[in-house]
């Protein structure tokens, strides 16, 4: 702050960074404070994740040495815990179930969202305003938990995988983002040209509009996918009796209730998950399951990152 512009005239400064010429160099104290804060913030996010990863590959001896539950620097790396949980037990089944849920759910969500976004992207088409109003209302009000439960029950979906998909498969927010994209980023001339060439609406959509929207479709699909992968609340609400549980429910039953739950059934459920996995330390097994739950997110993450700013801008800023 103390540095004035006069002290550092642009001509004298060697331009090593891409800081604009008119911008004064911040004081070194300010710079250090800023760097320290961001470093600590990043550490607060990364250190816990590192500890989870380190524990998942730790051996029995390393865990004992570290005092029991978590290690920070494993002396020896062993993938035995992963072998155990991925060899067909309860964890494997839950992971596969969640993968299936994610794949089916995302496909249905994308189909509904793309259809509606394209169908509503032509102002002046029949019932266009009525449909939009019906969608906008859903952004203002939320029906209660019990009435929603009642509908799922009436449809006979309780304890079915569909109860985790159908009630949440369409999001008005994603629709608005995609519709805005169709209306602003696809030139109307292209659609007119397709029509003059004799293409119907479906053909125009599949051959002209969708190929130009791959990036945003990927982002919206990934957002839906993350939602399905993270399914927990709906599973607690609608599918408590499901034999193979979504992975998030399994993690909760195994890791967040085993510390002495009030009811015996929690402990029994946790014991059932861990049964048959005796060749690796319990802490490593649990952390390996956590890592397996994080991995799909980390795999999807770069794709989201690549295009998310664009999606956020169309969605949040232009509205």
């Amino acid at each position: 702050m103390s540095a004035t512009i006069a002290e550092r005239t642009p001509a004298r400064r060697r331009r090593r960074s891409n800081r604009p010429v008119w911008d004064e160099e911040p004081s070194s104290v300010g710079k250090a404070a800023k760097g320290l804060f961001l470093l600590l913030y990043a550490a607060a996010i990364l250190i816990p994740l590192w500890a989870v990863l380190a524990t998942s590959v730790a051996t029995e001896e390393a865990l004992l040495e570290g005092g029991g539950d978590m290690v920070f620097l494993p002396t020896e790396v062993s993938f035995q815990a992963y072998r155990e949980i991925l060899s067909g037990g309860a964890v494997t089944r839950s992971l596969l179930f969640s993968l299936l849920l994610t794949a089916v759910g995302t496909a249905i969500s994308l189909a509904l969202t793309v259809g509606a976004a394209y169908g509503l992207s032509r102002p002046g088409s029949v019932w266009h305003r009525k449909f939009l109003t019906l969608i906008l209302i859903t952004m203002l009000f939320a029906p209660g938990m019990y009435p929603a439960y009642l509908v799922v029950q009436d449809l006979g979906l309780l304890n079915e995988m569909w109860a985790l998909i159908l009630p949440v498969c369409f999001s008005a927010w994603n629709l608005i983002v995609l519709r805005t994209f169709f209306m602003t980023a696809i030139p109307g001339e292209l659609i007119d040209a397709a029509r003059i060439d004799g293409a119907g609406e479906f053909r125009t959509m599949f051959k002209v509009v969708l190929p130009m929207s791959k990036a945003i479709l990927a982002v919206i699909g990934l957002f839906y996918a993350v939602g399905y992968w993270n399914t927990y609340f709906l599973a607690v609400l609608y599918t408590p009796g499901l034999e193979t549980k979504p992975i998030q429910v399994l993690i909760q039953q195994w890791l967040l209730t085993s510390g002495g739950g009030p009811t015996g059934q929690d402990a029994a459920a946790a014991a059932a998950i861990a049964s048959g996995m005796e060749n690796a330390p319990a802490a490593s097994l649990k952390m390996a399951a956590v890592v397996c739950t994080i991995i799909p997110i980390v795999i999807m993450y770069p794709f989201i990152q690549k295009h998310f700013t664009k999606a956020v801008i169309t969605g949040a800023v232009k509205g």
Partner: protein, 328 residues
């Protein structure tokens, strides 16, 4: 659409002044013939909304009934606002409502500014490479489920967690932050920040990027220093986004979420972590005879949310901001 006269006559009689200029409205039959593919594409989403949004919304009448799940809906006697009265005399509900408001305001006051601050800090990093690395790290936990967030926190701050171990190693005593009801608010704040501050940061960064850089240059040339540029250019530049997010947060003030509180209910005790959503869940889905009461609580929440979002939007319009929807 009640079409009594023949379409052709209607089109002939229709006064042109009500139509938008340039698009002479054709009769419904013609427009349907022209646009049926668009309607067909839209209908599946509308069916989803009809079944999973509008039907449950209509089922909210249960709140006004002496409801029993063992008889058809229309045979339940309507008893008016009795359940709302019971609700507000129920200390558990009042506690849950109070907790909800407390958590919501804490989120608004203590997490929102962190997002803005992070975005400003991030923007002031000149090196693009460093910036994208930090951005990726800070944004990552937003995609984690609450189950993962609570698990990771438990591993670090729980009884046998890293932090306790470190304290023991330093000659101190174990500290179990995860199970202490008195510090739950602080714990919840750490969790919100850890999980969601990055998301807010991304939105504000996008807003910051849309500010014309020439404004900064002109201000700097005119002698405005860093702080004046922040005050006169940056903050007004991102004001629409701040207002938008505030409106959305206000609308959701009674729905602070279910998962975070349900997951930690056992650890900190249900009195501390009870919010409206968990109240409804434990009172209606898991308890018997609570259907009407739970529906009343849900309806109360929905209507307050609706009113808040409309009011906030109205105020935003008053102050010349866009809000979430334009006046049409």
């Amino acid at each position: 659409m009640a079409v009594t006269a023949g379409p052709a006559e209607r089109a002939a009689e229709a006064p042109p002044k009500t139509r938008p200029p340039g698009s002479r409205r054709k009769p419904l039959r013609h427009r349907l013939r022209r646009d049926w593919p668009l309607v067909v594409l839209t209908v599946p989403a509308m069916v989803q909304l009809a079944v999973f949004f509008y039907t449950p919304s209509a089922y909210s009448v249960i709140a006004f009934m002496d409801y029993s799940p063992y008889r058809p809906l229309w045979e339940n006697p309507i008893i008016g606002f009795t359940h709302f009265q019971i609700l507000f005399e129920d200390p558990y509900f009042v506690d849950a409502l109070f907790n909800t408001l407390q958590f919501a305001f804490a989120q608004l006051i203590f997490v929102f500014p962190i997002s803005i601050g992070l975005a400003l800090l991030m923007q002031s990093i000149v090196s693009t490479k460093l910036r994208s690395v930090f951005q990726s790290i800070v944004y990552l936990p937003y995609f984690f489920s609450w189950v993962l967030v609570v698990t990771v926190f438990n591993q670090v701050l729980g009884q046998d967690g890293l932090f306790s171990r470190w304290l023991l190693g330093m000659g101190g005593e174990r500290l179990d932050i995860m199970r202490d009801p008195d510090t739950f608010m602080f714990l919840a704040w750490m969790q919100w920040t850890w999980k969601d501050a990055g998301w807010g940061m991304i939105i504000f960064l996008a807003a910051l990027a849309s500010i014309n850089p020439a404004l900064y240059e002109a201000a700097a040339v005119d002698g405005a220093n860093r702080w004046r540029r922040l005050w006169h250019i940056t903050l007004p530049g991102i004001r629409p986004v701040i207002v938008l997010l505030l409106i959305l947060q206000l609308g959701g003030i009674l729905s602070v979420g279910f998962e975070q509180y349900q997951l930690q209910r056992e650890m900190v005790g249900w009195g501390t972590s009870e919010v409206l959503d968990t109240f409804v869940y434990y009172r209606t889905i898991l308890a018997s005879n609570g259907e009407s009461l739970g529906t009343a609580a849900g309806l109360f929440k929905g209507i307050i949310g609706l009113l808040l979002i409309l009011a906030a939007n109205h105020i935003a319009h008053r102050f010349g901001e866009q809000g979430i929807y334009q006046k049409s």
